[in-house]
């Protein structure tokens, strides 16, 4: 999807998820170009986003749900703070091209490209916060809608990514094209659900 710019969805991860989405009755979007133009327009007028988030990790086999809470700041162009407050203090900071992890009182900065393991993790983080996978030829995108939401489903094409994820689902509020939640579904049906709330943006 060349129409999407890197980090475009980050501009629109702005919450407004106070109402429950209707999971049913999704059908393919007929006018995809119109949907993409809406996202481009929204991204163009957004410079800063601040939002709280709740993350649920669903482990099917263990019948466990791990809940994390945190805060998220995006500043145009590519500066990101993705900070967990509960259950542990942990933050990922991307600032002027440097990738930093704050783990409690410990701070580590590193070259993301020098290490394959961190590169994979970084890709997942970027996937989480920016949605720039839409600009990524490694994913196949399909588009759906119902009365309340647009739903973008991303299917990985590279085997390395397929091993980690089977699908990424992004739910956009139709009212303002803001992202309400993102769901990362893994092979084996474990999934991570991130819901955004109390969002502010300029």
């Amino acid at each position: 999807m060349k129409l999407f710019k890197p980090l475009i969805f980050l501009f629109i991860i702005i919450g407004l998820s106070s109402f429950q989405k209707e999971q049913d009755d999704f059908h393919p979007i007929e006018d995809i170009d119109s949907f993409i133009k809406k996202i481009d327009l929204y991204a163009a007028v957004t410079n800063t986003i601040k939002s709280n988030f709740t993350q649920e990790k669903h482990l099917t086999m263990l019948e466990e749900v791990l809940v994390s809470e945190g805060h998220f700041i995006f500043q145009k162009e590519n500066n990101v703070l993705w900070e967990y407050k509960k259950p542990i203090d942990y933050a990922i900071i991307v600032f002027e091209g440097q990738f930093t992890i704050r783990d409690g009182n410990k701070v580590n900065a590193f070259d993301i490209q020098s290490n394959r393991m961190f590169r994979e993790i970084n890709n997942m983080i970027i996937t989480s916060v920016s949605g720039n996978f839409l600009d990524n030829p490694d994913f196949k995108s399909t588009y759906f809608e119902n009365n309340t939401f647009y739903l973008v489903k991303l299917s990985p094409l590279k085997q390395e990514v397929k091993n980690m994820l089977s699908t990424i689902e992004i739910y956009f509020n139709k009212n303002d094209i803001s992202v309400s939640e993102v769901k990362f579904i893994e092979p084996g049906d474990d999934f991570t659900l991130i819901q955004f709330s109390e969002t502010e943006f300029n």
């Binding site: 263990l62 993705w82 259950p87 980690m164």
Partner: protein, 207 residues
Amino acid sequence: MIGFFLSINSCSYKHYKGFTKVIATEISLPVIFDPTFKKANYLTHLEVFGNQLSGITIIKKVEQTNTFHVVFLSQIGIKYFDLEIAMNEEAEGFRMNYIMESLNRDFIINALKADFELLFVKFNNDAQLQMYQHPQKEIKEIIISDGKNLASYIIDKKDVQSISLKKGSSDHASIIIKELNTIYPRKFEMNNKKARMKMIMNEIILE
């Protein structure tokens, strides 16, 4: 901790100096996770070949199958690995349900298998047990050998304090239990020398 000296050759094993062999008709396997254990969450730091990962590990006992299920996740929800160790005699034993591609190496999987089997005290049925006792203190050592591997569990009163594993003539892995409650260890450190892998686990209470 008492100064520790282990050496092994084809027919003998040297343990703590001064310890005497206990003659007993039946020696029980050491207990680290009590049978009543259900689940614990650990803040985890993993270091393997210079790479550092952190996150949360869930250890859960599945009663129906008598299986320990271990899942290590990053803070952002990325799963590093998901493994099971069945304790039943007839069960297959170790199963890696998932491991992240960049960790998917035989030496890492073998190290995880060895370390967690040591932690959960998983041995073959035909393993031989011996027990040695400190002459004055309530410290004993249980040695478990299955022919290829030799594990030493140091127990102070009732609590396992440290474990070491030898394969052949070389040190293979060790576990130091730093804090435990009556049911399971709350803080422990696993160090696999062969894989140059260290895993530090500190219990975290999640809501």
